[in-house]
Symmetry: C4
Subunit: 216 residues, 4 copies
Amino acid sequence: MNKETYNKIAGQDTGRIIAISDGVFGVALTLLVLEIRVPVLESIRSEQDLIHAFVALKSKFLVYFLAFMTTGIFWVGHSSQYKYIQESDRNLNWINLLFLLSVTMLPFTTAFLGDYVHFKFPVAVYWLNIFLMGAMLYINWVYACRHHFVHEETRQLVDIPLRRRIITAQSLYFLGALLCFISPVLSIAFIILVQLNYAFAFLSQRKKTPALKTES
Amino acid sequence: MNKETYNKIAGQDTGRIIAISDGVFGVALTLLVLEIRVPVLESIRSEQDLIHAFVALKSKFLVYFLAFMTTGIFWVGHSSQYKYIQESDRNLNWINLLFLLSVTMLPFTTAFLGDYVHFKFPVAVYWLNIFLMGAMLYINWVYACRHHFVHEETRQLVDIPLRRRIITAQSLYFLGALLCFISPVLSIAFIILVQLNYAFAFLSQRKKTPALKTES
Amino acid sequence: MNKETYNKIAGQDTGRIIAISDGVFGVALTLLVLEIRVPVLESIRSEQDLIHAFVALKSKFLVYFLAFMTTGIFWVGHSSQYKYIQESDRNLNWINLLFLLSVTMLPFTTAFLGDYVHFKFPVAVYWLNIFLMGAMLYINWVYACRHHFVHEETRQLVDIPLRRRIITAQSLYFLGALLCFISPVLSIAFIILVQLNYAFAFLSQRKKTPALKTES
Amino acid sequence: MNKETYNKIAGQDTGRIIAISDGVFGVALTLLVLEIRVPVLESIRSEQDLIHAFVALKSKFLVYFLAFMTTGIFWVGHSSQYKYIQESDRNLNWINLLFLLSVTMLPFTTAFLGDYVHFKFPVAVYWLNIFLMGAMLYINWVYACRHHFVHEETRQLVDIPLRRRIITAQSLYFLGALLCFISPVLSIAFIILVQLNYAFAFLSQRKKTPALKTES
């Protein structure tokens, strides 16, 4: 058996992992809107009524926006890693599937948070969900590096910033979750701010990084 | 570090952006039909009853068609841009995600419009949704051009027509939205006509553009 | 402007069309099962009750199978065409979107058929849906050929079989639909048989076509 | 007609099969979570109530986890085969569609199992679903090998392990299903253990397979 054939058998590109992940992310992002329901006909008589009914949905919109941002942040994070990961094996398939498991939980934990914003428990559940996503993404990267699925030269450059980014973000989320002992609403507000920072960092970062950009 | 490795790290192709976008668009297009429910069994006794129940769904079908067309128009617009955009970075990822956010809102705003066709407010909401999609698509293109993600020679050729197309369409949508002060139904009819024009332009355009075709 | 740049602008590969189509088909195929609901807890007391409740779902399973087969047949048909279509333009994008519009209608028209199997009208609606899918697929192919998106040598070989396949299938579906004037159930049974024939043709066809295989 | 053109017509790559499959798997994985509903507002008055309501969902979470694992196992299995399958034809398209049919049934059969854990019949239905997935995957591989869609050198290396893996797994599932005559809960527990073994085999297997890794 020649080298080429062997590689074809033992190695595996990351195409399928990326495809199933984009599938799951795409569906998750689109399903979130189903939580917002059009207000029912009977109770609406005037333009005024309609605007009131619409404004009443504001917490639903906020939760929708929050869930979309969170899903987006982790999609960008996943994207960044697989930009560098060149190969995969069965274990990486499963680590990625467990990451996706935590992603698919997000619509539930966000809805749970949205329905009970004045309680501590849903904040804990939501935090746990974000923690699991971060942990799996971290494991994913470490596993890929250890099994030489990332080009060595590349690894040396991006390993530290990629890990640090996850750890910093997770520390902030943990801090945010702890705030629920003061007030759950404060806790949620803090987490949203952290997320907005990660999503819209580009507004401020543009000038700071002229050389090498590493994505979250 | 050699040039090639550096490019691998700093640059990024647009594969993932396109994949997540087609995922979101694919789900959005397919979910729309779930709004149309099969009429319930009890009330149906004859073939006549069934036809009546079916015809009663006509506004649902119209809204479904409208939402499908709008989603389609923006998918074609997105397609056209990413045909020319060769590279991406983290910011483009987020600009595109915000565009997708506005796309996933469409099933809601269209259903809202469909349920309250005689009110002005839903027209405003629907228009705002279309405006956001157009704005994000415009920002997407300008950002890509400014960061040299579009080949210079190509940019010179397609920049003006691509921008003009968005601005013209958005002006017409805005005009349509204003018509709701005369009559919301008139407003919707006008918007549908504008959309049909963008979707089915090929019926008339075929002979007009022998040389260079730029897509909406 | 050199030739290569021009081609990049005027031409367009079929990647996005295929991606959005597989997205829509993938979602449509998976959503179909949501129509089958697990029987409710209260009424079930023994193993016997459970089996009865399950058997009562048989028409739901049949409709599910029918819709899956129909969607599958048109996915294979779409696949076959885009195997040969090398390029696309804005019009082909829209022809394909209208084809997808008819595909996304299928879950509705099949559910409508499944709920009213003893009526003529749902058979007509279902037939119209299949007719629209077939018509759009036919237009798709003719348009692609006329605009030289299919390699000439290839076109000469597959044009006739591809067209004939659609026309034969559509004739059989039309005949099946007409049978509803005798009995709607007979009509459905006939359509199912036609579809099974297209899906499982390989059981018999294997020996007949040693040279060139053209897919439905 | 030259050789190249002929190959373009008669052969077919596996791109579309993989795309539609990842679409279906992606949607299936994400839809599963919709079965878990956020507990309703009225009944919740204290943090305690909320925790109780959440804990009451535990069987829903277990079933969700089970369905996700099963879908994941078969996605990995499908992935492994199409890593080696280089070509496809119309029949392989249909064999794969029937495999996907059994995949899309899984959300239903799992929910059925989850709602009636103390009955034998749902275990039988669930087992039948897993059996069909395994059988179609087996047929898929045998068909691909027989029609020389797998490189001969590769086939010799992976044929035996790939087949054996399916047969071993299916034997264990069958044994698990038989256990329902002792106790349905025991049966489910056994099946979950078998699945966990397949999913997390990497925890133990890492050292055993230094040379050639064949994926389940």
